[in-house]
Symmetry: C2
Subunit: 417 residues, 2 copies
């Protein structure tokens, strides 16, 4: 197939290049990644120049300091990105791993092996570092990548993708495996979501709004990476020191990320014992608390909570606090408001810990640990593809293996049915 349509032509080139990537050796893929890391280091002035255009446009459009900071690439960040690519080189290659296998009664041998998806699509916003991250993870797992990084980072993404393509080409790989479609604007993003036959899986990374749009519009299978309305439940039997440590860590260690806690549920008995201290520890950490009546009766300085409090992912130093009468009430609250990312219980009660683990329907369910541990790096996966909040294919922290599919290899000697 060759396409007059320049959008489909790009996707087709990625598809064809990905086919060849699927069967190259790990050594060849690692050589490609090393070439990318070196190119990042040797092209710093060129990248910074292109990035400056995006920064200038962003400032002109008043996109705000937070976004400008995310957009910025300087020497330190580029050297950090090169190191991140080398970290991917160090990871084991998931492709070819034999997951299951057996010899059937008729002598046929079957093996289920990991294979690349083909082409991974990614839609994200104003984060040129994600261009390198996703490309490196896709390449290591034998996939092509079609990237829509958004118009705000168009110049940065263009120079980075060109660099990746040249680097792959320099070691004899087909550089067309990585493509940017930023130049096709919003229309390009919409078309990407419907590019069945070209894109095998689509990963949105960004705001809840972006993810929701992709889920609604996409006909390509999507892996949702997720927002987290994360709960910590302090049970009646909780150890006070442990509860204070876990709750403050879960909320304040890095409030802007999805595994940070958003809602504190406290059993009435524990609230009597320790809510004043818990609240003060959070407030000392700069957290603005909103509580239900039970919480506001027992601790000071809490704003009144509204129904919105419980469904909000603050991603900031803000937290809802609710006092519950029982584990059942805590479980019911979580079932209603959780985004199924991570929930934790702090308890000394064995039966309650087991019930919480069994009954909470979230990607990660914890006993006596900070929710901040929901992380591919912490789980030992090495790479950070994202944290899936869906139930199909991947759930929780995703490593390289989650960027692969499988196929069955069947070796016979002429068997028929």
């Amino acid at each position: 197939m060759s396409h007059a349509d320049p959008f489909l032509a790009k996707l087709e080139r990625a598809r064809v290049a990905a086919q060849s990537l699927a069967t190259v050796t790990t050594a060849q893929k690692n050589a490609g990644l090393e070439a990318i890391a070196r190119a990042l280091e040797s092209s710093i002035p060129e990248i910074v120049t292109e990035n400056a255009k995006d920064l200038a446009l962003g400032a002109e459009n008043g996109i705000g300091d937070g976004l400008l900071d995310r957009l910025k690439l300087d020497e330190a960040r580029l050297r950090g990105l090169a190191e991140a690519v080398r970290a991917v080189i160090a990871l084991p290659d998931p492709v070819g791993e034999v997951l299951r296998g057996s010899t059937l009664a008729n002598g046929i041998k079957i093996n289920q092996v990991r294979v690349p998806f083909g082409v991974v699509g990614a839609i994200y916003e104003a984060r040129p570092n994600v261009t390198i991250d996703i490309a490196a993870l896709a390449l290591k797992s034998g996939n092509g990548a079609v990237l829509r990084g958004g118009s705000a980072a168009e110049n940065s993404n263009r120079v980075l993708v060109a660099l990746i393509q040249r680097a792959l080409h320099s070691v004899g790989l087909n550089g067309e495996a990585v493509q940017t479609i930023d130049e096709f604007g919003r229309e390009g993003a919409s078309r990407l979501m419907r590019a069945r036959g070209y894109i095998d899986v689509l990963i949105p990374r960004g705001s809840a709004g972006l993810i929701s749009t992709v889920v609604q519009e996409s006909t390509v299978p999507v892996i949702e990476t997720g927002s987290g309305v994360v709960h910590v439940f302090v049970d009646a039997s909780a150890d006070e020191e442990m509860a204070v440590g876990i709750v403050t860590n879960a909320k304040t260690h890095r409030p802007s990320v999805c595994n940070a806690a958003e809602t504190l549920l406290v059993h009435r008995d524990a609230a009597e014992r320790m809510l004043p201290r818990l609240a003060r520890a959070l407030q000392d950490g700069g957290v603005e608390l909103s509580g239900d009546e039970g919480a506001r009766e027992r601790a000071e300085g809490l704003l009144p909570a509204t129904d919105e409090t419980w469904s909000t992912e603050h991603l900031a130093l803000a937290m809802g606090v609710r006092v519950v009468d029982s584990l059942d009430e805590a479980l019911a609250h979580i079932a209603r408001y959780s985004t199924k990312h991570t929930e934790a219980i702090v308890t000394q009660d064995y039966a309650n810990s087991e019930r919480f683990l069994a009954e909470v329907d979230s990607a990660v369910v914890m006993v006596n640990a900070s929710t901040r541990f929901t992380d591919g790096g912490e789980f030992g996966f090495g790479a950070e593809v994202g944290i899936s909040t869906q139930k199909l294919h991947a759930r929780g922290p995703m490593g390289l293996a989650e960027l692969t599919s499988t196929k069955w290899l069947v070796r016979g000697g002429g068997q028929i049915r």
Copy 2:
């Protein structure tokens, strides 16, 4: 949540019942399945009476003998269905299986375990036996099931679902876990596809048109089960006896199913040697052949193939035959026309067998075996959930395990980051 909307009220009842199913023991689920099997046996007259209404309506509407036969439930078929339910009892319960686990450097223990999806939605056509099949598989894997079996089988499905609900209730399980939405008509099917938050995964079973509609319209994650434009490639080095055996078995053993072969590719050298015999063997089996020029030059009685020949899933005694110059040409043909279900090579050449296994991007890739072996039963899975032709979550024959998701259980002793 309680709903005035009767459609959402049903889905909500299924959701709540599924929550309780997720944590019941295997013994309890098996008791429920045994109660369903007994109810099927003891309710034969009642079911046959209701089924007769659907058959009468179908005959009146002229739906054709094939569809009428699929629709029919008689004593033998109902006893067969009861046995199929008992076969599901005999299968191991996938829920709770520990897939991975480790102790992190900080002492936290993590375990990835299989959990039910929640509620499985199924959309199928005029096959009341699927109502029992899917319900039994969903229940064994701890899931609820919301079934849209189509208006043509509405009376049969209604009596079967009522029977399932009573049987579950009789052993103390929440019978609301299984629901039919046939009474909501096409509108119900559309709403099911958009019932995010109620339905965790949707499985369409039926025609390519039905599956395509579900993929296009659904915002609930879908597992496509698939149509198969299945290829057999007879390589230059193929053993003649083996080739004749495999090709005729793949085409004629059961032509109406998705793992039956639709296209025969023959290397030019093999065509010289054996195409006349291969063609005659197929024709003797009643197969109507359509060939390209190379095939029609070498064998008799072939219609001229058109481009449509190569993309058609005949599901009947019809087959396309094409002579190719090389393995590369065979791989290119397959890449273009395959629906990525199953492809097989017949060869005595080691390098070609390995290239075929590596480069064909299909759910199942075979050397020297009939494509008819792509089957959950043949693979030793026990159950037949369907054959996935997508790459996300499940690929190839699906067993009970493919009706589960996973979650991570994290047990700590107060660790923070």
